[in-house]
Symmetry: C2
Subunit: 339 residues, 2 copies
Amino acid sequence: MATIRDVAKEAGVSIATVSYVLNNTKHVSEETRRRVLEAARKLGYRPSNIARGLRARRSHALGYSWRPMPGGEINVILDTFLESMAIAAARHDYHIIAYPTTTESDEVQFYRDLVEAERVDGFVLSNTNYDDPRIRFLLDAGVPFVAFGRSNPDWDFPWVDVDGAAGMRKAVEHLVGLGHTRIAFIAWPEGSLSGEERLRGYLEGMEAAGLSIDEAWVLRGEMRHEVGYEAARVFMRLPAARRPTAIIAVSDLMAVGAMNALADMGIRVGHSVAVVGFDDIPMARYLRPPLTTLRQPIADIGEKVIDMLMKHLAGEEPEQCHVLVEPELVIRASTMPDT
Amino acid sequence: MATIRDVAKEAGVSIATVSYVLNNTKHVSEETRRRVLEAARKLGYRPSNIARGLRARRSHALGYSWRPMPGGEINVILDTFLESMAIAAARHDYHIIAYPTTTESDEVQFYRDLVEAERVDGFVLSNTNYDDPRIRFLLDAGVPFVAFGRSNPDWDFPWVDVDGAAGMRKAVEHLVGLGHTRIAFIAWPEGSLSGEERLRGYLEGMEAAGLSIDEAWVLRGEMRHEVGYEAARVFMRLPAARRPTAIIAVSDLMAVGAMNALADMGIRVGHSVAVVGFDDIPMARYLRPPLTTLRQPIADIGEKVIDMLMKHLAGEEPEQCHVLVEPELVIRASTMPDT
DNA sequence: AGCGTTGGGTGAAACGTTTAACCGATCGGG
DNA sequence: CCCGATCGGTTAAACGTTTCACCCAACGCT
């Protein structure tokens, strides 16, 4: 494997000149520049990332860790998110170290290890929440990072997030446009930032439409199919005048639970009762009926996150460090009565 | 950040001694050993991975790349696979660099880059196929790697794979046990190694049960929902005497297509016609009816792959370098007439 | 003419480890 | 008693870069 010394000898210059040419970091004459480039090409030289990192104190790697979904559920965005990040990072000659964290205690420990062993120059976080210990640690340690998701409002750090509230407002608006007035909502337990955002969007949407909300229309539960299933059954057992004609779930998985409950009760989804989810999981379009849902622009977010992080690492102040993107309402048959 | 020199000074020894103690690579007296460990602990020292790598010519990282699923489909195993690999690798102080490759041409280029820039010590491959250019390259370049999946029989390299044929034999056996004799199969186009394996399992299973196969019972097509949908329609249009009472699909996605086609034709899945898939995608258990399918032990495979790769990197000869694991048949209502 | 400046290039230090070579002291065997 | 081996430790070279300090020649300006 050719080193910078081989290239220097081949081109008849010093190793310093080779370095300057290759990094474009100092002016050299066109003639020598050409010779160096030619020599490097001929020898198939590429700088050793390790040696480069030692001197420049840069590993040229970014860490991304996620929490495995509870209950063995699949992380539907991981695939797309990793892909978009890796491609964006590659443009800056950076790579992504991927790591799932299990318990919350070793979560912070993992970040500390990676930083102290100089394995990464920065981090991407996702699934953030209030009082997120990872964010607290990274802020305290002064390690560059960008989060996909928000946290405490008084913590100042760069993030990109999906506007779940706006998404849910869109969903309500869509249902109201179809004539629904009694719309129920299946939420997550309190304490989830994104969960509360989505709930807020529902409440605001209802208010904007001038609709009052029956207290029985909001149920909370863990992110599980069964929870959606049970919630729908409870809704349908309400007296006719209070019974919802549409159900919005905070996630597709729970929406599927609701759809299955309705089907088991002999209620036609879409025709009699509309259902809306959130995520656009791959299966959503193949469900019977296909599920209306909110799609997060994951690929855009991955790219944006990396761009912001690269700016951060380069020491530049990014023009915007809080980015809120709107999810897209994908309308399918689960909210279309005429199919 | 404390360096090895700080620790040496604190413990009153040379940096060499510190290194020997920390790496357990030479015998030192119990007394000094204790002092060094104490000093390291006190200063919160951890060796810089970069510096260590430069000298030892090791990056302590492994590369894993996958191809994004065609047609925007999700990679259902990525999540679990990455997780199990990262955990297994961490036990050896190794990390995983994740990278999706897009076109086949830059696929090999990506491997070359990573090797030449000394960013990784070895690779994990998945989605392998006949004449896989990545395998060819890595073999030629002498780079350590372990594959999840097989390739040309005359290429000698370590791999772990799921025995798709055995899985399909199990599926056939299960259906035969339920009284089915006319069983159809939805396959992938020719040229896919795992696809042909699964088809072979179906053929063998049928033969073992003494059942003859109508040529109309095997249809091929791309990995798409629509393909499964159309195939099921074709099967159901056969004259009653030749019409299958059970359909096995080479993947869950195509099985879902078949299920939807049957439902749209007013045929009760599970009751009238049984359907079996392959993968156990997360949604499989929530489908109506829930889908009988073959589950690959992904977590075990991830761990096994890393263990083999670590052995390989350590220069030890692994006791077994070809591992074939059987998928598990998960029986659900799509093949149970009595629900 | 003298002098600062600029363009184009070199020499060598530094980054933080690992490890080969070496060294003194102690000890056991012939 | 002497020689080789062993134990416990040190010195210093090496890994392949980046980059600071410096140098020389040419040049423009007073």
